[in-house]
């Protein structure tokens, strides 16, 4: 019946799972005193393979496998490639920055890869129970990774906090799924989309939507579900933060897109105002709180909250334009954020001797390369043209304006002006002449693997900033594969010029 073998529908996930298992097996057979760094290369190789296999999926006809639970489409491929790419960068980053002596390196790499399995599955799942399972796979891996530095005070605290709050959020999501199942009698997303307009028990669906939104918005660290973010980011190892500030959010946003645009497009009048409020809250709360931070990772945590807000502004866009803008923003955000956390990892070191903004003073004198890169990524986060951050904001706010929410774009852009203040504080500290204390700090060493990671991040940020056309086109074709809302109103583009003049 199905011309495409089911296994091809989940090829990247299969490859990633095998890689993770392989890494664990090798880890178990190696003698205890043996260095485990090479396991990272195995994981990186497997991730690269998974990336290629998701590109191969593009040649498959669009459709579902495993009894309509997993989808492959341009949308899923876009996110698979993004997730695998970022995981690859995070692995390369970890290779050079994890302490040599650590005995748990095998677990570390395996968990990263298993987390990637969950996130990839999450973007492809079209069945709410699979969504839940995929979310749990990715979350549990991330909880463990957050507590990887178990000998520090903040490491276990971060892990426990993340685990407890995260479990709550997942419970909300599950409860929401149950409500929607109760109202429609199915957990299949297309079926739900078909049944919702006629469903009798409307209150159940609304409650289900609300609960699911709570769960998802927690995962993307949008205000008011953001309180875990700064503590967890501060306590987790920086390479892990590079990972968990980007890919789980990307996967969760993919889920959000699927839920609101594909599953419940008819409830737009309900979720639209909710997302507006969350967007404005996230931007404002994130930026205002970031202004006062002295710790770089906490500042970037609040910046991540603000960026979730800018991204949610894209959801004001109608149909494909909003989906494409959001997808593009996720890619741009992931590229620059993984880049800046890579720099932060190198500067502050694995044990984080230099966590404060003041410690970055004179970085450009100590290490011109890292200093320039830090400024570059900060400028991208500000949204300066010719960087990925600019076009991310551009598409997002253009979608908002196209959807009629001009005020949202104004709030967003004023917020990004506000955000420039704290990004620049760090950039200017970097450019400042070093004082006694910071000039004594050693210049960080940039190894081959982390060099490759930085190169990838810079290249991606520049490509997204200078020639965003191809990536946006990919995001757009992904957007078209999500079922467009039936009663879609296209923004009046290209109509004015052709109108006859009075």
């Amino acid at each position: 019946m199905n011309p495409v073998s089911d296994i091809f529908r989940i090829l990247p996930e299969v490859i990633l799972t095998l890689t993770g298992v392989l890494v664990m097996l090798i880890d178990a057979t190696l003698p205890p005193h043996c260095a485990r760094r090479s396991l990272g290369w195995v994981a990186a190789f497997g991730t690269t393979l998974a990336l290629w296999s998701s590109l191969f999926q593009l040649s498959l006809p669009e459709g579902t496998g495993f009894f309509g639970t997993v989808e492959t489409s341009a949308f899923t491929v876009f996110f698979h490639v993004l997730i695998c790419g970022i995981v690859l960068v995070a692995l390369l980053l970890s290779l050079d920055t994890l302490p040599e002596k650590s005995h748990h390196q095998g677990e570390f790499y395996a968990l990263i890869v298993f987390g990637a399995v969950g996130m990839c599955l999450l973007t492809g799942a079209v069945e709410l129970l699979l969504v839940f399972i995929a979310l749990e796979i990715s979350s549990i891996a991330t909880y463990v990774l957050a507590g990887y530095r178990k000998n520090t005070a903040r490491g276990p605290e971060a892990a426990i906090k993340y685990f407890l709050l995260g479990s709550f959020a997942t419970a909300f999501l599950l409860y929401g799924i149950a409500m929607i199942f109760g109202a429609t009698g199915t957990t299949q997303i297309y079926e739900i989309a078909r049944l919702v307009p006629a469903a009798l028990n409307h209150a159940f669906i609304l409650a289900g939507l609300g609960l699911m939104l709570v769960g998802i918005l927690f995962k993307v660290s949008a205000a008011p579900f953001h309180v875990w973010t700064p503590d967890v980011y501060e306590g987790s190892p920086t390479p892990v933060v590079a990972l968990m500030s980007t890919v789980p959010k990307a996967a969760a946003f993919a889920l959000l897109l699927r839920v609101v645009y594909e599953m419940l497009p008819t409830l737009r009048p309900v979720w639209q105002p909710l997302l507006w409020v969350v967007a404005v809250l996230s931007m404002t709360v994130g930026n205002l709180a970031a202004l006062r931070q002295q710790n770089v990772k906490r500042m970037l945590a609040y910046s991540a909250i603000a960026h979730a807000g800018y991204l949610l502004a894209a959801f004001a866009g109608l149909g494909p334009s909003g989906i494409a803008a959001a997808s593009f923003y996720i890619a741009a955000y992931a590229a620059m954020n993984v880049g800046i956390f890579a720099v932060v990892t190198l500067v502050s070191g694995y044990d984080e001797k230099l966590p404060l903004i003041n410690d970055y003073r004179g970085l450009i004198y100590r290490s011109p390369l890292l200093g320039s890169l830090l400024i570059f990524f900060l400028l991208s986060l500000v949204g300066i043209p010719f960087t990925g951050g600019f076009f991310g904001k551009f598409y997002s706010f253009a979608a908002a304006v196209g959807g009629g929410a001009v005020w949202l774009a104004i709030i967003g852009l004023l917020n990004s002006g506000l955000a420039a203040a704290y990004y620049l504080r760090l950039a200017l500290a970097t450019a400042q002449r070093p004082d006694e204390q910071t000039s004594a700090a050693p210049a960080p060493r940039v190894g081959a693997a982390v060099g490759a990671a930085l190169l990838l991040a810079v290249a991606a940020t520049l490509v997204l900033g200078i020639v965003p056309g191809d990536v946006f086109h990919a995001a757009e074709s992904g957007a078209h594969t999500l079922q467009a809302p039936p009663a879609e109103i296209i923004a009046p583009v290209n109509t004015v010029v052709t109108q006859s003049q009075p």
């Binding site: 300066i384 706010f397 253009a398 004023l414 420039a420 010029v497």
Partner: protein
């Protein structure tokens, strides 16, 4: 020849960028970064001179146009071109670049690679602002021009660079947020970022009037901060105090004033007309306020900052007087102000490098020891205050004439008062720096007058000031070509010159 005409603007944008990459790659030895920057800027200046040489004065509209699709969705075109308005401004940026390199030659002693890399990127950004005819590309360059400037102020500031840089950046970055929203709104309404298409769409009156008014206001606000127009000038004094000389000469004025003419009045003539009385008032206020503050400054960088505020306000007056005479004068005065400011900053930079203070009362009696410096400074000052036969006279005269005949006699008289005050503070500055008894500071260092590179720059500049004073017809026909609006706007101009209300 057509091949060159086709690619000349792209070359002007790319050559400084290529120079920047080259500077970033070479080792910081033997002043290599300086030499590469000098060669690059001279080459770019040479390229910009190609424009007036091959500009066809008989045609209206944009020339040397390149219009290629850059990004499909949204439709952003790499659309560049020059007309009479931007032609000489491009040449001016080209001219000021090598002057900036010469001014930085000895002043920048460390991290020269970084300095010249960013300096050259800044050149590209400024060229981009003057050349772009696609609003998104324009906005890109507009924002990009902030970045090297802010970093250079932070790193090479004299006392408190980072603070001034932050102030400068936020002052100019935040107003561009409404600008971007306005651009996006125009796109959502019309489906194009193209300047001429937007001009046509807006003129045809099919866009809703209310939002259009807000969009015009957003444009104006962003430009007014950048110029700056009183009372949005909060950033200018600190920036002038901290910015390296090479950047202080370009930081204020040109970009904002050009953008007002091209993108505010050019796109939103009716809305600009409604706002014009307010801007005329603010311009005269800024003119007098800047001049009064310049009179009482003790630090010559701050004095230059408020002098700039005063002079730029005069140009704003010319622009928002909405008379053709005033526009001609305004563009001419932008050119003249650029040249004169370039020379003055170069000279003040030389003084600051040698004596390490910008306190005016520490100086005195330098004329006897540094006769050449004094001579050039006097010439530039006289050009600045508008002495007949020097460049400043033509521009100021045209602006005041336009105001007198086209706006109101009262404003013109008030503006003239500001010009007189301008003469007062400049001449007083000359007197305190160069004449009077020799100060302890002047006596403390051996006399060391201007040398090769500086003279090679200053002689042509002085000559240029005189030529601009006696032969304005070399420039004015082209400027008039650009300042004259396209046909669809003629009606509006007639109305404005008769002083009647909008339709």
């Amino acid at each position: 020849m057509t091949a060159i005409n086709q690619s000349i603007l792209t070359l002007i944008l790319l050559v400084p960028l290529a120079g920047a990459v080259l500077v970033a790659l070479v080792p910081d030895r033997f002043k290599l970064p300086n030499w590469i920057a000098l060669v690059t800027t001279l080459a770019t200046f040479g390229l910009t001179l190609h424009l007036p040489a091959h500009f066809d004065n008989t045609q209206s509209g944009f020339q040397f146009v390149v219009n290629r699709l850059w990004i499909e969705k949204p439709a952003i075109f790499y659309h560049v071109g020059v007309d009479g308005l931007s032609l000489w401004l491009v040449v001016l940026v080209g001219l000021l670049a090598p002057i900036g390199v010469v001014a930085s030659w000895n002043a920048i002693r460390e991290r020269r690679k970084l300095f010249f890399t960013l300096f050259l990127i800044q050149q590209t950004a400024m060229f981009g602002v003057f050349l772009s005819l696609d609003l998104m590309v324009y906005y890109g360059f507009w924002e990009l021009s902030l970045v090297p400037m802010a970093i250079l102020i932070a790193m090479y500031g004299r006392k408190d660079g980072p603070k001034a840089a932050l102030k400068f950046f936020l002052f100019t970055f935040i107003p561009s947020a409404p600008l971007l929203v306005a651009i996006l709104w125009l796109y959502a309404q019309t489906g194009t970022f193209d300047f001429t298409m937007l001009q046509y769409n807006i003129a045809s009156g099919i866009l809703p009037a209310g939002p259009l008014c807000w969009a015009a206001l957003a444009f104006l606000f962003a430009f007014a901060v950048k110029v700056p127009v009183f009372p949005l000038h909060g950033w200018i004094a600190d920036t002038f105090c901290e910015a390296p000389v090479a950047l202080a000469m370009v930081v204020a004025g040109k970009l904002g004033l050009y953008s007002m003419l091209r993108f505010h009045i050019g796109l939103f003539p009716a809305q600009a007309r409604a706002m014009a009385p307010l801007l005329v008032g603010l311009a005269v206020a800024g003119l007098l306020y800047g001049a009064c503050l310049a009179l009482v400054q003790r630090d010559f960088w701050r004095l230059m900052a408020f002098a700039a505020l005063s002079h730029l306000s005069l140009i704003t007056l010319g622009i928002y007087g909405l008379t053709l005479t005033g526009w001609d004068g305004a563009v001419y005065q932008i050119l003249n102000h650029g040249v004169v400011d370039g020379a003055l900053f170069l000279l003040l930079g030389v003084l600051y490098d040698r004596y390490a203070t910008s306190q005016i009362n520490a100086y005195g009696g330098l004329a006897a020891k540094l006769p050449r410096t004094a001579m050039f400074f006097v010439i530039a000052s006289l050009a600045m205050i508008g002495l007949p036969m020097l460049g400043g006279f033509v521009g100021e005269f045209l602006i005041l004439l336009g105001t007198f005949t086209g706006v109101s006699r009262g404003w013109a008289i008030a503006a003239s008062l500001g010009v007189i005050l301008g003469a007062a503070y400049m001449l007083w500055l000359v007197q305190r720096l160069f004449f009077g008894p020799e100060s302890a500071l002047a006596a403390s260092k051996p006399p060391e007058d201007l040398r090769g590179g500086q003279l090679a720059v200053l002689w042509p500049l002085a000559a240029l000031m005189m030529v601009m004073g006696v032969a304005p017809m070399l420039w004015l026909p082209t400027i008039e070509k650009g300042a004259h609006p396209p046909p669809s706007h003629v009606q509006f101009i007639h109305l404005s010159s008769q002083g009647e209300g909008p339709r």
